[in-house]
Structure formats: structure tokens, C-alpha cells
Symmetry: C2
Subunit: 408 residues, 2 copies
């Protein structure tokens, strides 16, 4: 009998996509589904960057340089300068989405059996890349009561072993929306230096910070050798389908090693690089409108959630996600029930059970992630659905009114 590999068997299925068949069935019944379950924004991709592709005069769509077109890397140097990151084109490898940057980081810095610490809840696909690379994810828990702030450094130190090689952070965070403060970033720096760890910094949501200052891992002084920045244009320019990201590092050994992996797959997507290059020429004011829109959505979403009986949602400082605690028995069951058995005025809402974002078994059972990627009217309607659903859901759990911790 032909066998599937062990890593193939262990590879986790996407926790976000497993509810899709239920959503499809609901739609077939004529129910409108508000998709707050995935990070696919409704914001228009800037017409100027799509037009750059429409106007291209290329005759042969050739392989680009394995590190990406030099012209695009030069443009990115300008972009990074604007966000306070000083690098050269020879410190950038253009990747196929942020996904490939993460995979390259794992391949270059970690051996099979090595461990990577990730504050949970975390972006579920880190599990998939870790599985592909044979790396073990060690979660440490951040708490909804603190708005998902960085766990105490003592929690990191408790789990650090000789196999620990890296920490992954994502700020502003998917799935929590939490934005690490300068103090938290400095604390991460100290622990990386003390224990000789790589800091993988996923900064996909850099542009969307609403409260507080954005601090990149690349802003930290004296951490140049440790930092591997994983970046993407997916969220920045609402261009998720372009599949264009970047691995950025000042560590030459990591860069040279990542280049070998980059050469093996020849080059990143060519048409997307035309878009990416044009994006750097957008006026600085481009971000004003989407940022204001996301901020208004956040405020509406968080206010609506916290006004519901037994619901607690800390106010996220960035990105376009929030995690809410609901008075429910089981978030997987609840999210499926919303699609399978519930409707309110022929409408329902699709949410992501938070269980998929925790590495620790059993956590997230009364939490859901909401992506505020729909307009204000849709968010209001979705919150009407959720409020009504929480009244009707058979697995409702009666709770004391949650103490809302002082966030920051």
C-alpha cells in the first residue's frame, strides 16, 4: 500500500476553512452569510496598482531574479525607509506571499526537532509551516483579560530549552489585533539576546495601528542578527491574491541561505511584482481612507460586542481582527450552529472559532475571532445576528458579568 508521509498525516487542516461546507449549505437555503471569519478585506485594491499591470508592455514574462526584480527591491528600500526601517536591496528577498517568507525562515534557521515559541492565540498557519519543516511549536498563553498583551518574560523562560531557536511574533496581531508596545518589544529583544534566539517578526498589518506607536522588530537596536522580518502586501494594499511578500534580514548568513531556497523555486510571481513596485509610488495619504474605515469598523464592532450580555471583547490596537469571549459552551459547535441551524431575518454570521488559534488543547472554547473586513452596515447586521443567536443558542452558558481589565 502506498502511504502518505507522517508529516502529511500530521499536517493540520485549516481551522478556518473547515466550516466552509456549512456556509455553502446555508447559502443554498437562501440565507445571507456575513463573513467575519477570514482576513479577506473588502477594501478595493488601489486601481493605480492594478492599472500598472494593465498597462504592462512586457513581451515575454520571464523569470525574475530569484530575490525578486532589483527595481522592485530598490522601491521597497524607499518604502521601508518611510516606516523607519533602514535596509539595502541585498537584504530583501521577494517571496510568494508572506507564507513563503515564513517557510524560508523555518527552513534556514531551524532543524527538524527544534522549537519555536509563539505567544498564543496565533496565526494558525504557523502550525502548517512548522509541520512542513519538522519544527515543534511551543505556545505560551496571552490572556484575553489583558487584551492579549505579551505574556510575562518568565513564561518564555519556563519553556526555553536547548532546542529553542526562535520566537515568532505578529504585531499588530492576527488573530487578536493586539499591538505590542515599545516596552514589550524591548523585552522580546532582551530575551532573544539572552538566549540567542531568532526573532521572526510577521508585520503584515503594519499600516493598521489605531492606538499607540507601531514598533517594528527592525527598530530595535542591537538585534540585527536576530531579526527575520516576514512581510506581505496582501493586507497593506488589499491584494491578498497577488501572493507577494518579502523576507528581510540583516543577518547575511540567513540571507544567503534563504537565497538558496529562493533559487530552487526560481523566482517570485512576476505580474505581482509590477503591482508591488507601483504600490510604493502611491501617495502617503493612500492609507488614510482604509485606516479610517477600519478604525470606524473596529469601534462599532467592539462596542456592539461589549454591549451584549456576557460578551467581552478587548479593544484591539491594530490589524482588523478582534477576539471576543462569548457565553457559550464550545466555539466550534457555536460557529457551526450559526451556519447550520440559525438565521435571523434570513441572515447569519460566520465566525472563526478561537480554538484553531491556540496551541494549547482546550483553550479558546469560549472565544471567537472576528475579522472586520465588511462595511459598517454589514457589521451592524452581523452583530444583530450574533446578539440574537446568543439568546437562542442551546449551549449558552450563564456567567457573571466579566470584569473588563484595564487595557494598557
Amino acid at each position: 500500500m502506498l502511504k502518505i508521509s507522517k508529516r502529511g498525516e500530521q499536517m493540520p487542516a485549516s481551522p478556518i476553512r473547515k466550516l466552509v461546507p456549512y456556509a455553502e449549505a446555508a447559502k443554498k437555503k437562501g440565507i445571507h452569510v456575513y463573513h467575519l471569519n477570514i482576513g479577506q478585506p473588502d477594501i478595493e485594491t488601489p486601481p493605480a496598482i492594478l492599472n500598472a499591470v494593465r498597462k504592462t508592455e512586457i513581451k515575454v514574462l520571464e523569470y525574475s531574479h530569484s530575490a525578486g526584480n532589483e527595481s522592485y527591491r530598490l522601491k521597497l528600500v524607499q518604502y521601508y525607509k518611510k516606516v523607519g526601517i533602514d535596509i539595502t536591496p541585498e537584504q530583501i528577498i521577494i517571496t510568494t506571499g508572506g507564507s513563503e517568507a515564513i517557510l524560508f525562515g523555518f527552513f534556514c534557521c531551524l532543524n527538524p526537532g527544534d522549537e519555536v515559541i509563539i505567544p498564543e492565540p496565533f496565526y494558525a498557519n504557523y502550525n502548517g509551516f512548522a509541520c512542513a519543516a519538522g519544527v515543534r511549536v511551543v505556545p505560551i498563553t496571552s490572556l484575553i483579560e489583558t487584551g492579549f498583551a505579551l505574556p510575562p518574560i518568565a513564561d518564555f523562560e519556563k519553556v526555553i530549552t536547548s532546542k529553542t531557536k526562535a520566537i515568532i511574533i505578529c504585531s499588530p496581531n492576527n488573530p487578536t489585533g493586539y499591538l505590542y508596545s515599545r516596552n514589550e518589544m524591548e523585552a522580546l529583544k532582551d530575551i532573544c539576546i539572552k538566549y540567542n534566539l531568532y526573532l521572526f517578526s510577521d508585520e503584515a498589518y503594519r499600516e493598521f495601528c489605531y492606538d499607540g506607536e507601531y514598533v517594528s522588530a527592525m527598530h530595535l537596536k542591537g538585534l540585527d542578527d536576530n531579526v527575520v522580518l516576514m512581510d506581505t502586501i496582501s493586507k497593506r494594499y488589499s491584494a491578498c491574491g497577488a501572493r507577494l511578500g518579502a523576507l528581510v534580514t540583516k543577518n547575511k548568513a540567513v540571507y544567503d541561505t534563504a537565497m538558496k531556497f529562493a533559487q530552487a523555486r526560481l523566482s517570485p510571481p512576476g505580474l505581482a511584482q509590477i503591482m508591488g513596485e507601483a504600490a510604493v509610488d502611491l501617495p502617503d495619504s493612500y492609507f488614510d481612507a482604509p485606516k479610517a474605515e477600519y478604525l470606524a469598523r473596529r469601534d462599532l464592532l467592539v462596542n456592539r460586542l461589549n454591549a451584549m450580555e456576557g460578551v467581552f471583547c478587548p479593544n484591539p490596537g491594530g490589524a482588523f481582527y478582534a477576539i471576543a469571549r462569548l457565553p457559550i459552551d464550545d466555539s466550534d459547535k457555536f460557529c457551526q450552529w450559526l451556519l447550520e441551524y440559525f438565521s435571523y431575518n434570513e441572515q447569519t454570521v460566520m465566525l472563526a472559532p478561537a480554538t484553531g488559534f491556540y496551541g494549547t488543547e482546550g483553550l479558546g472554547k469560549n472565544e471567537v475571532r472576528l475579522a472586520y473586513v465588511l462595511n459598517l452596515d454589514a457589521i451592524n447586521a452581523a452583530m444583530d445576528c450574533l446578539e440574537n443567536a446568543l439568546e437562542k443558542y442551546p449551549g449558552k452558558v450563564k456567567k457573571e458579568k466579566t470584569e473588563i481589565a484595564e487595557i494598557k
Copy 2:
């Protein structure tokens, strides 16, 4: 000290790209370099498929389905039907180039430490993907004297162990241009069934067969569970930079497993999928012109090579590569010398040393790969350079006139 991973250290650098600095230096001296070293065709990408992207009216470039847009997979079903491959959209995963299809195949079917048999010389990047997946490549040698025909089945049986899980073939072949006959494909089938092996079939050059019949691994009866087809539009439509490929398999367990890896990286490139979809609508006659062009180039190249003193080049049945044996001491030295010390009428030629395509140390030292991706005039001029270079090269080896084996 921060360390690079072992797999990162072991990851091979691209053997084709290591001569690039010498080519750049030659160009700076004003020498024209004929690039016969890489498989980047000069053939125009069909304007109709680039126009499909130019005309796109999308407003938001969203993630596609992780398996690729259903509309594209439906189109591909039509395409495959035309080449005698009967499949459904649920047996196709659209990938980021053929590269990702190869990586997914390794991840899904092989454990770290498992072995994959590949007839050598072979596409050098298989080494890179094997390294990423922790898989051991076991080469068996095909001989220039037979035109690089399939090695005897006994050679496979000699190296099969309990760790052998797959065979990789590429027909028509990169780097040899050899096209496996039906008998050879049937022999591969028998050995895969007898020893319970996957057959990874890289069919990037399917459209370019000049002599003999094209036989896909998917044409073989009774091998459905074993075959994983790795495909790409890179060469088919001269769209290497699109980064659009496919993994095709009727083995549901492999498919479902590959889908988990596909979901982790979210989706394949979106703009390229628009191109890919339009490509299926090109008239069947589209391939006539590039195929005739490649055939004329092959005939010219092979004739010119075999007319040179001490040179032997078997006539390749497909793709756009040929491997030639030259009367030289060391192909790496020779290819570097061509760029560093040689010119003829201010021109030189860049070739790929065949050493990079062999897994067995020491082989390929008197062989080079030539990609006939330039027009007839350029090929003639490049052959003038080569002929002249072979007269002047200090490491020339005097040899008996090679017996040209009867090919097929």
C-alpha cells in the same frame, strides 16, 4: 552564536547561477554573451494571455481557492483532455510554478530519510526540494551513448531499499531533451507497481516533442494511485515568470494531503491564474509555430555540435535542451573560461556545466547542457564561438572520434 540550520547549510546553491558574476563581468568588458545556459525561452508569451490580464476588471485581488480558482481548474480539465489525460477539477491543485508541485509531492509522500530515485543527469533543483524535505536523492545513471535513454530496470532494482518511496521522471527531459518511449514508460510502471513506489512525473515540456510519441505517466493504465503529475505553464506558453503550475493526482489521499499544504499557503498567484485560464482558449494551432521554431533550432544546434572535432551530441527528442560531450578536461572550468578569458569577434557563449545535473560525484565533467532558447542566427553565432573556443581552450583533451551509438 546564532546558527544556520543543517538543512540550510546542506542546501545546494544553484549550479546554473554560479557563473552569473563571470557573465556580468564579460558584459561589462563589452563582450556579447549568448545565453544557452538557462531554460528561459525568447519565444513571446502569447499576447492573448497577457491581454487577458490587461483587460481584467477585478476590483479586489482576493485570495483564490487554495486549490486555485474553480473556473481555471475546469478549463484545465479541457486542456488535459486534449493531451489524453482524463481528470476532474477535484484532482488538480494549482501551484506556484511546477516548483511548488514538486515540493508538495515530496512533503506528502516522503518522510525525512526516505529515498527517491532519479535517473541522472536530472533537473538540479530536485536536489533543493529534496533537501528542504529531508529526502535523499538516489541517482541512477543514464548514458550519453544511448542518448540518455532510461537506465536498465536492473539499475533501479539495485538501489531500491525499504526507504525508497518514489521515482522522479521528466519526459521530455530537462537537461537531456530525451523523450521516454512507451516501452520505457511501461517499464517504469511495472517497477512502481512491483515495489509500491510513487511515480512523480514532471511534464513541463509536454508540448515540445519532435520525434516519437508523447506518453504521459497519466496515460499508463492501472497506475492511478502511484502517479503524481507535476506541471507548469512556464515553458508551454513561455510564461516562466507567471509562476503557475499544477499538481495533478488521482490518489485521493495524496490530493487531500497536498490540499492541507496548499491551504497553509492560502492560494496560488491570482493574476497568473487569469493568464492560465485564457491560455486554454488559445487555438490548438498555437503550438505549431514555437514547436517548428524549436525543432529548427534543435536541428541546427545538434548538427553544428556534431560537426565539431571531438564533440558528440545525441539528438534530443523533445524539450529545448541538449547535452553535448566536449573534448575538455573540466566543464566547470571550461564554462568559466568561456566567460572569463575567451571571446571571438567580441562574443562568447554561456553554457551550463553538466556536473550540476549529476548526483554522482565526478560525472558530467566533459559534458555541458545547451538550451536552444535563442533564434537561429544567435545559435549559429554561439556555435561559431564554441567551435573557436574548443580550438583555443588550454584544457582541451585529445580523444578518439566518439562512436555515435544508434539512438532508438
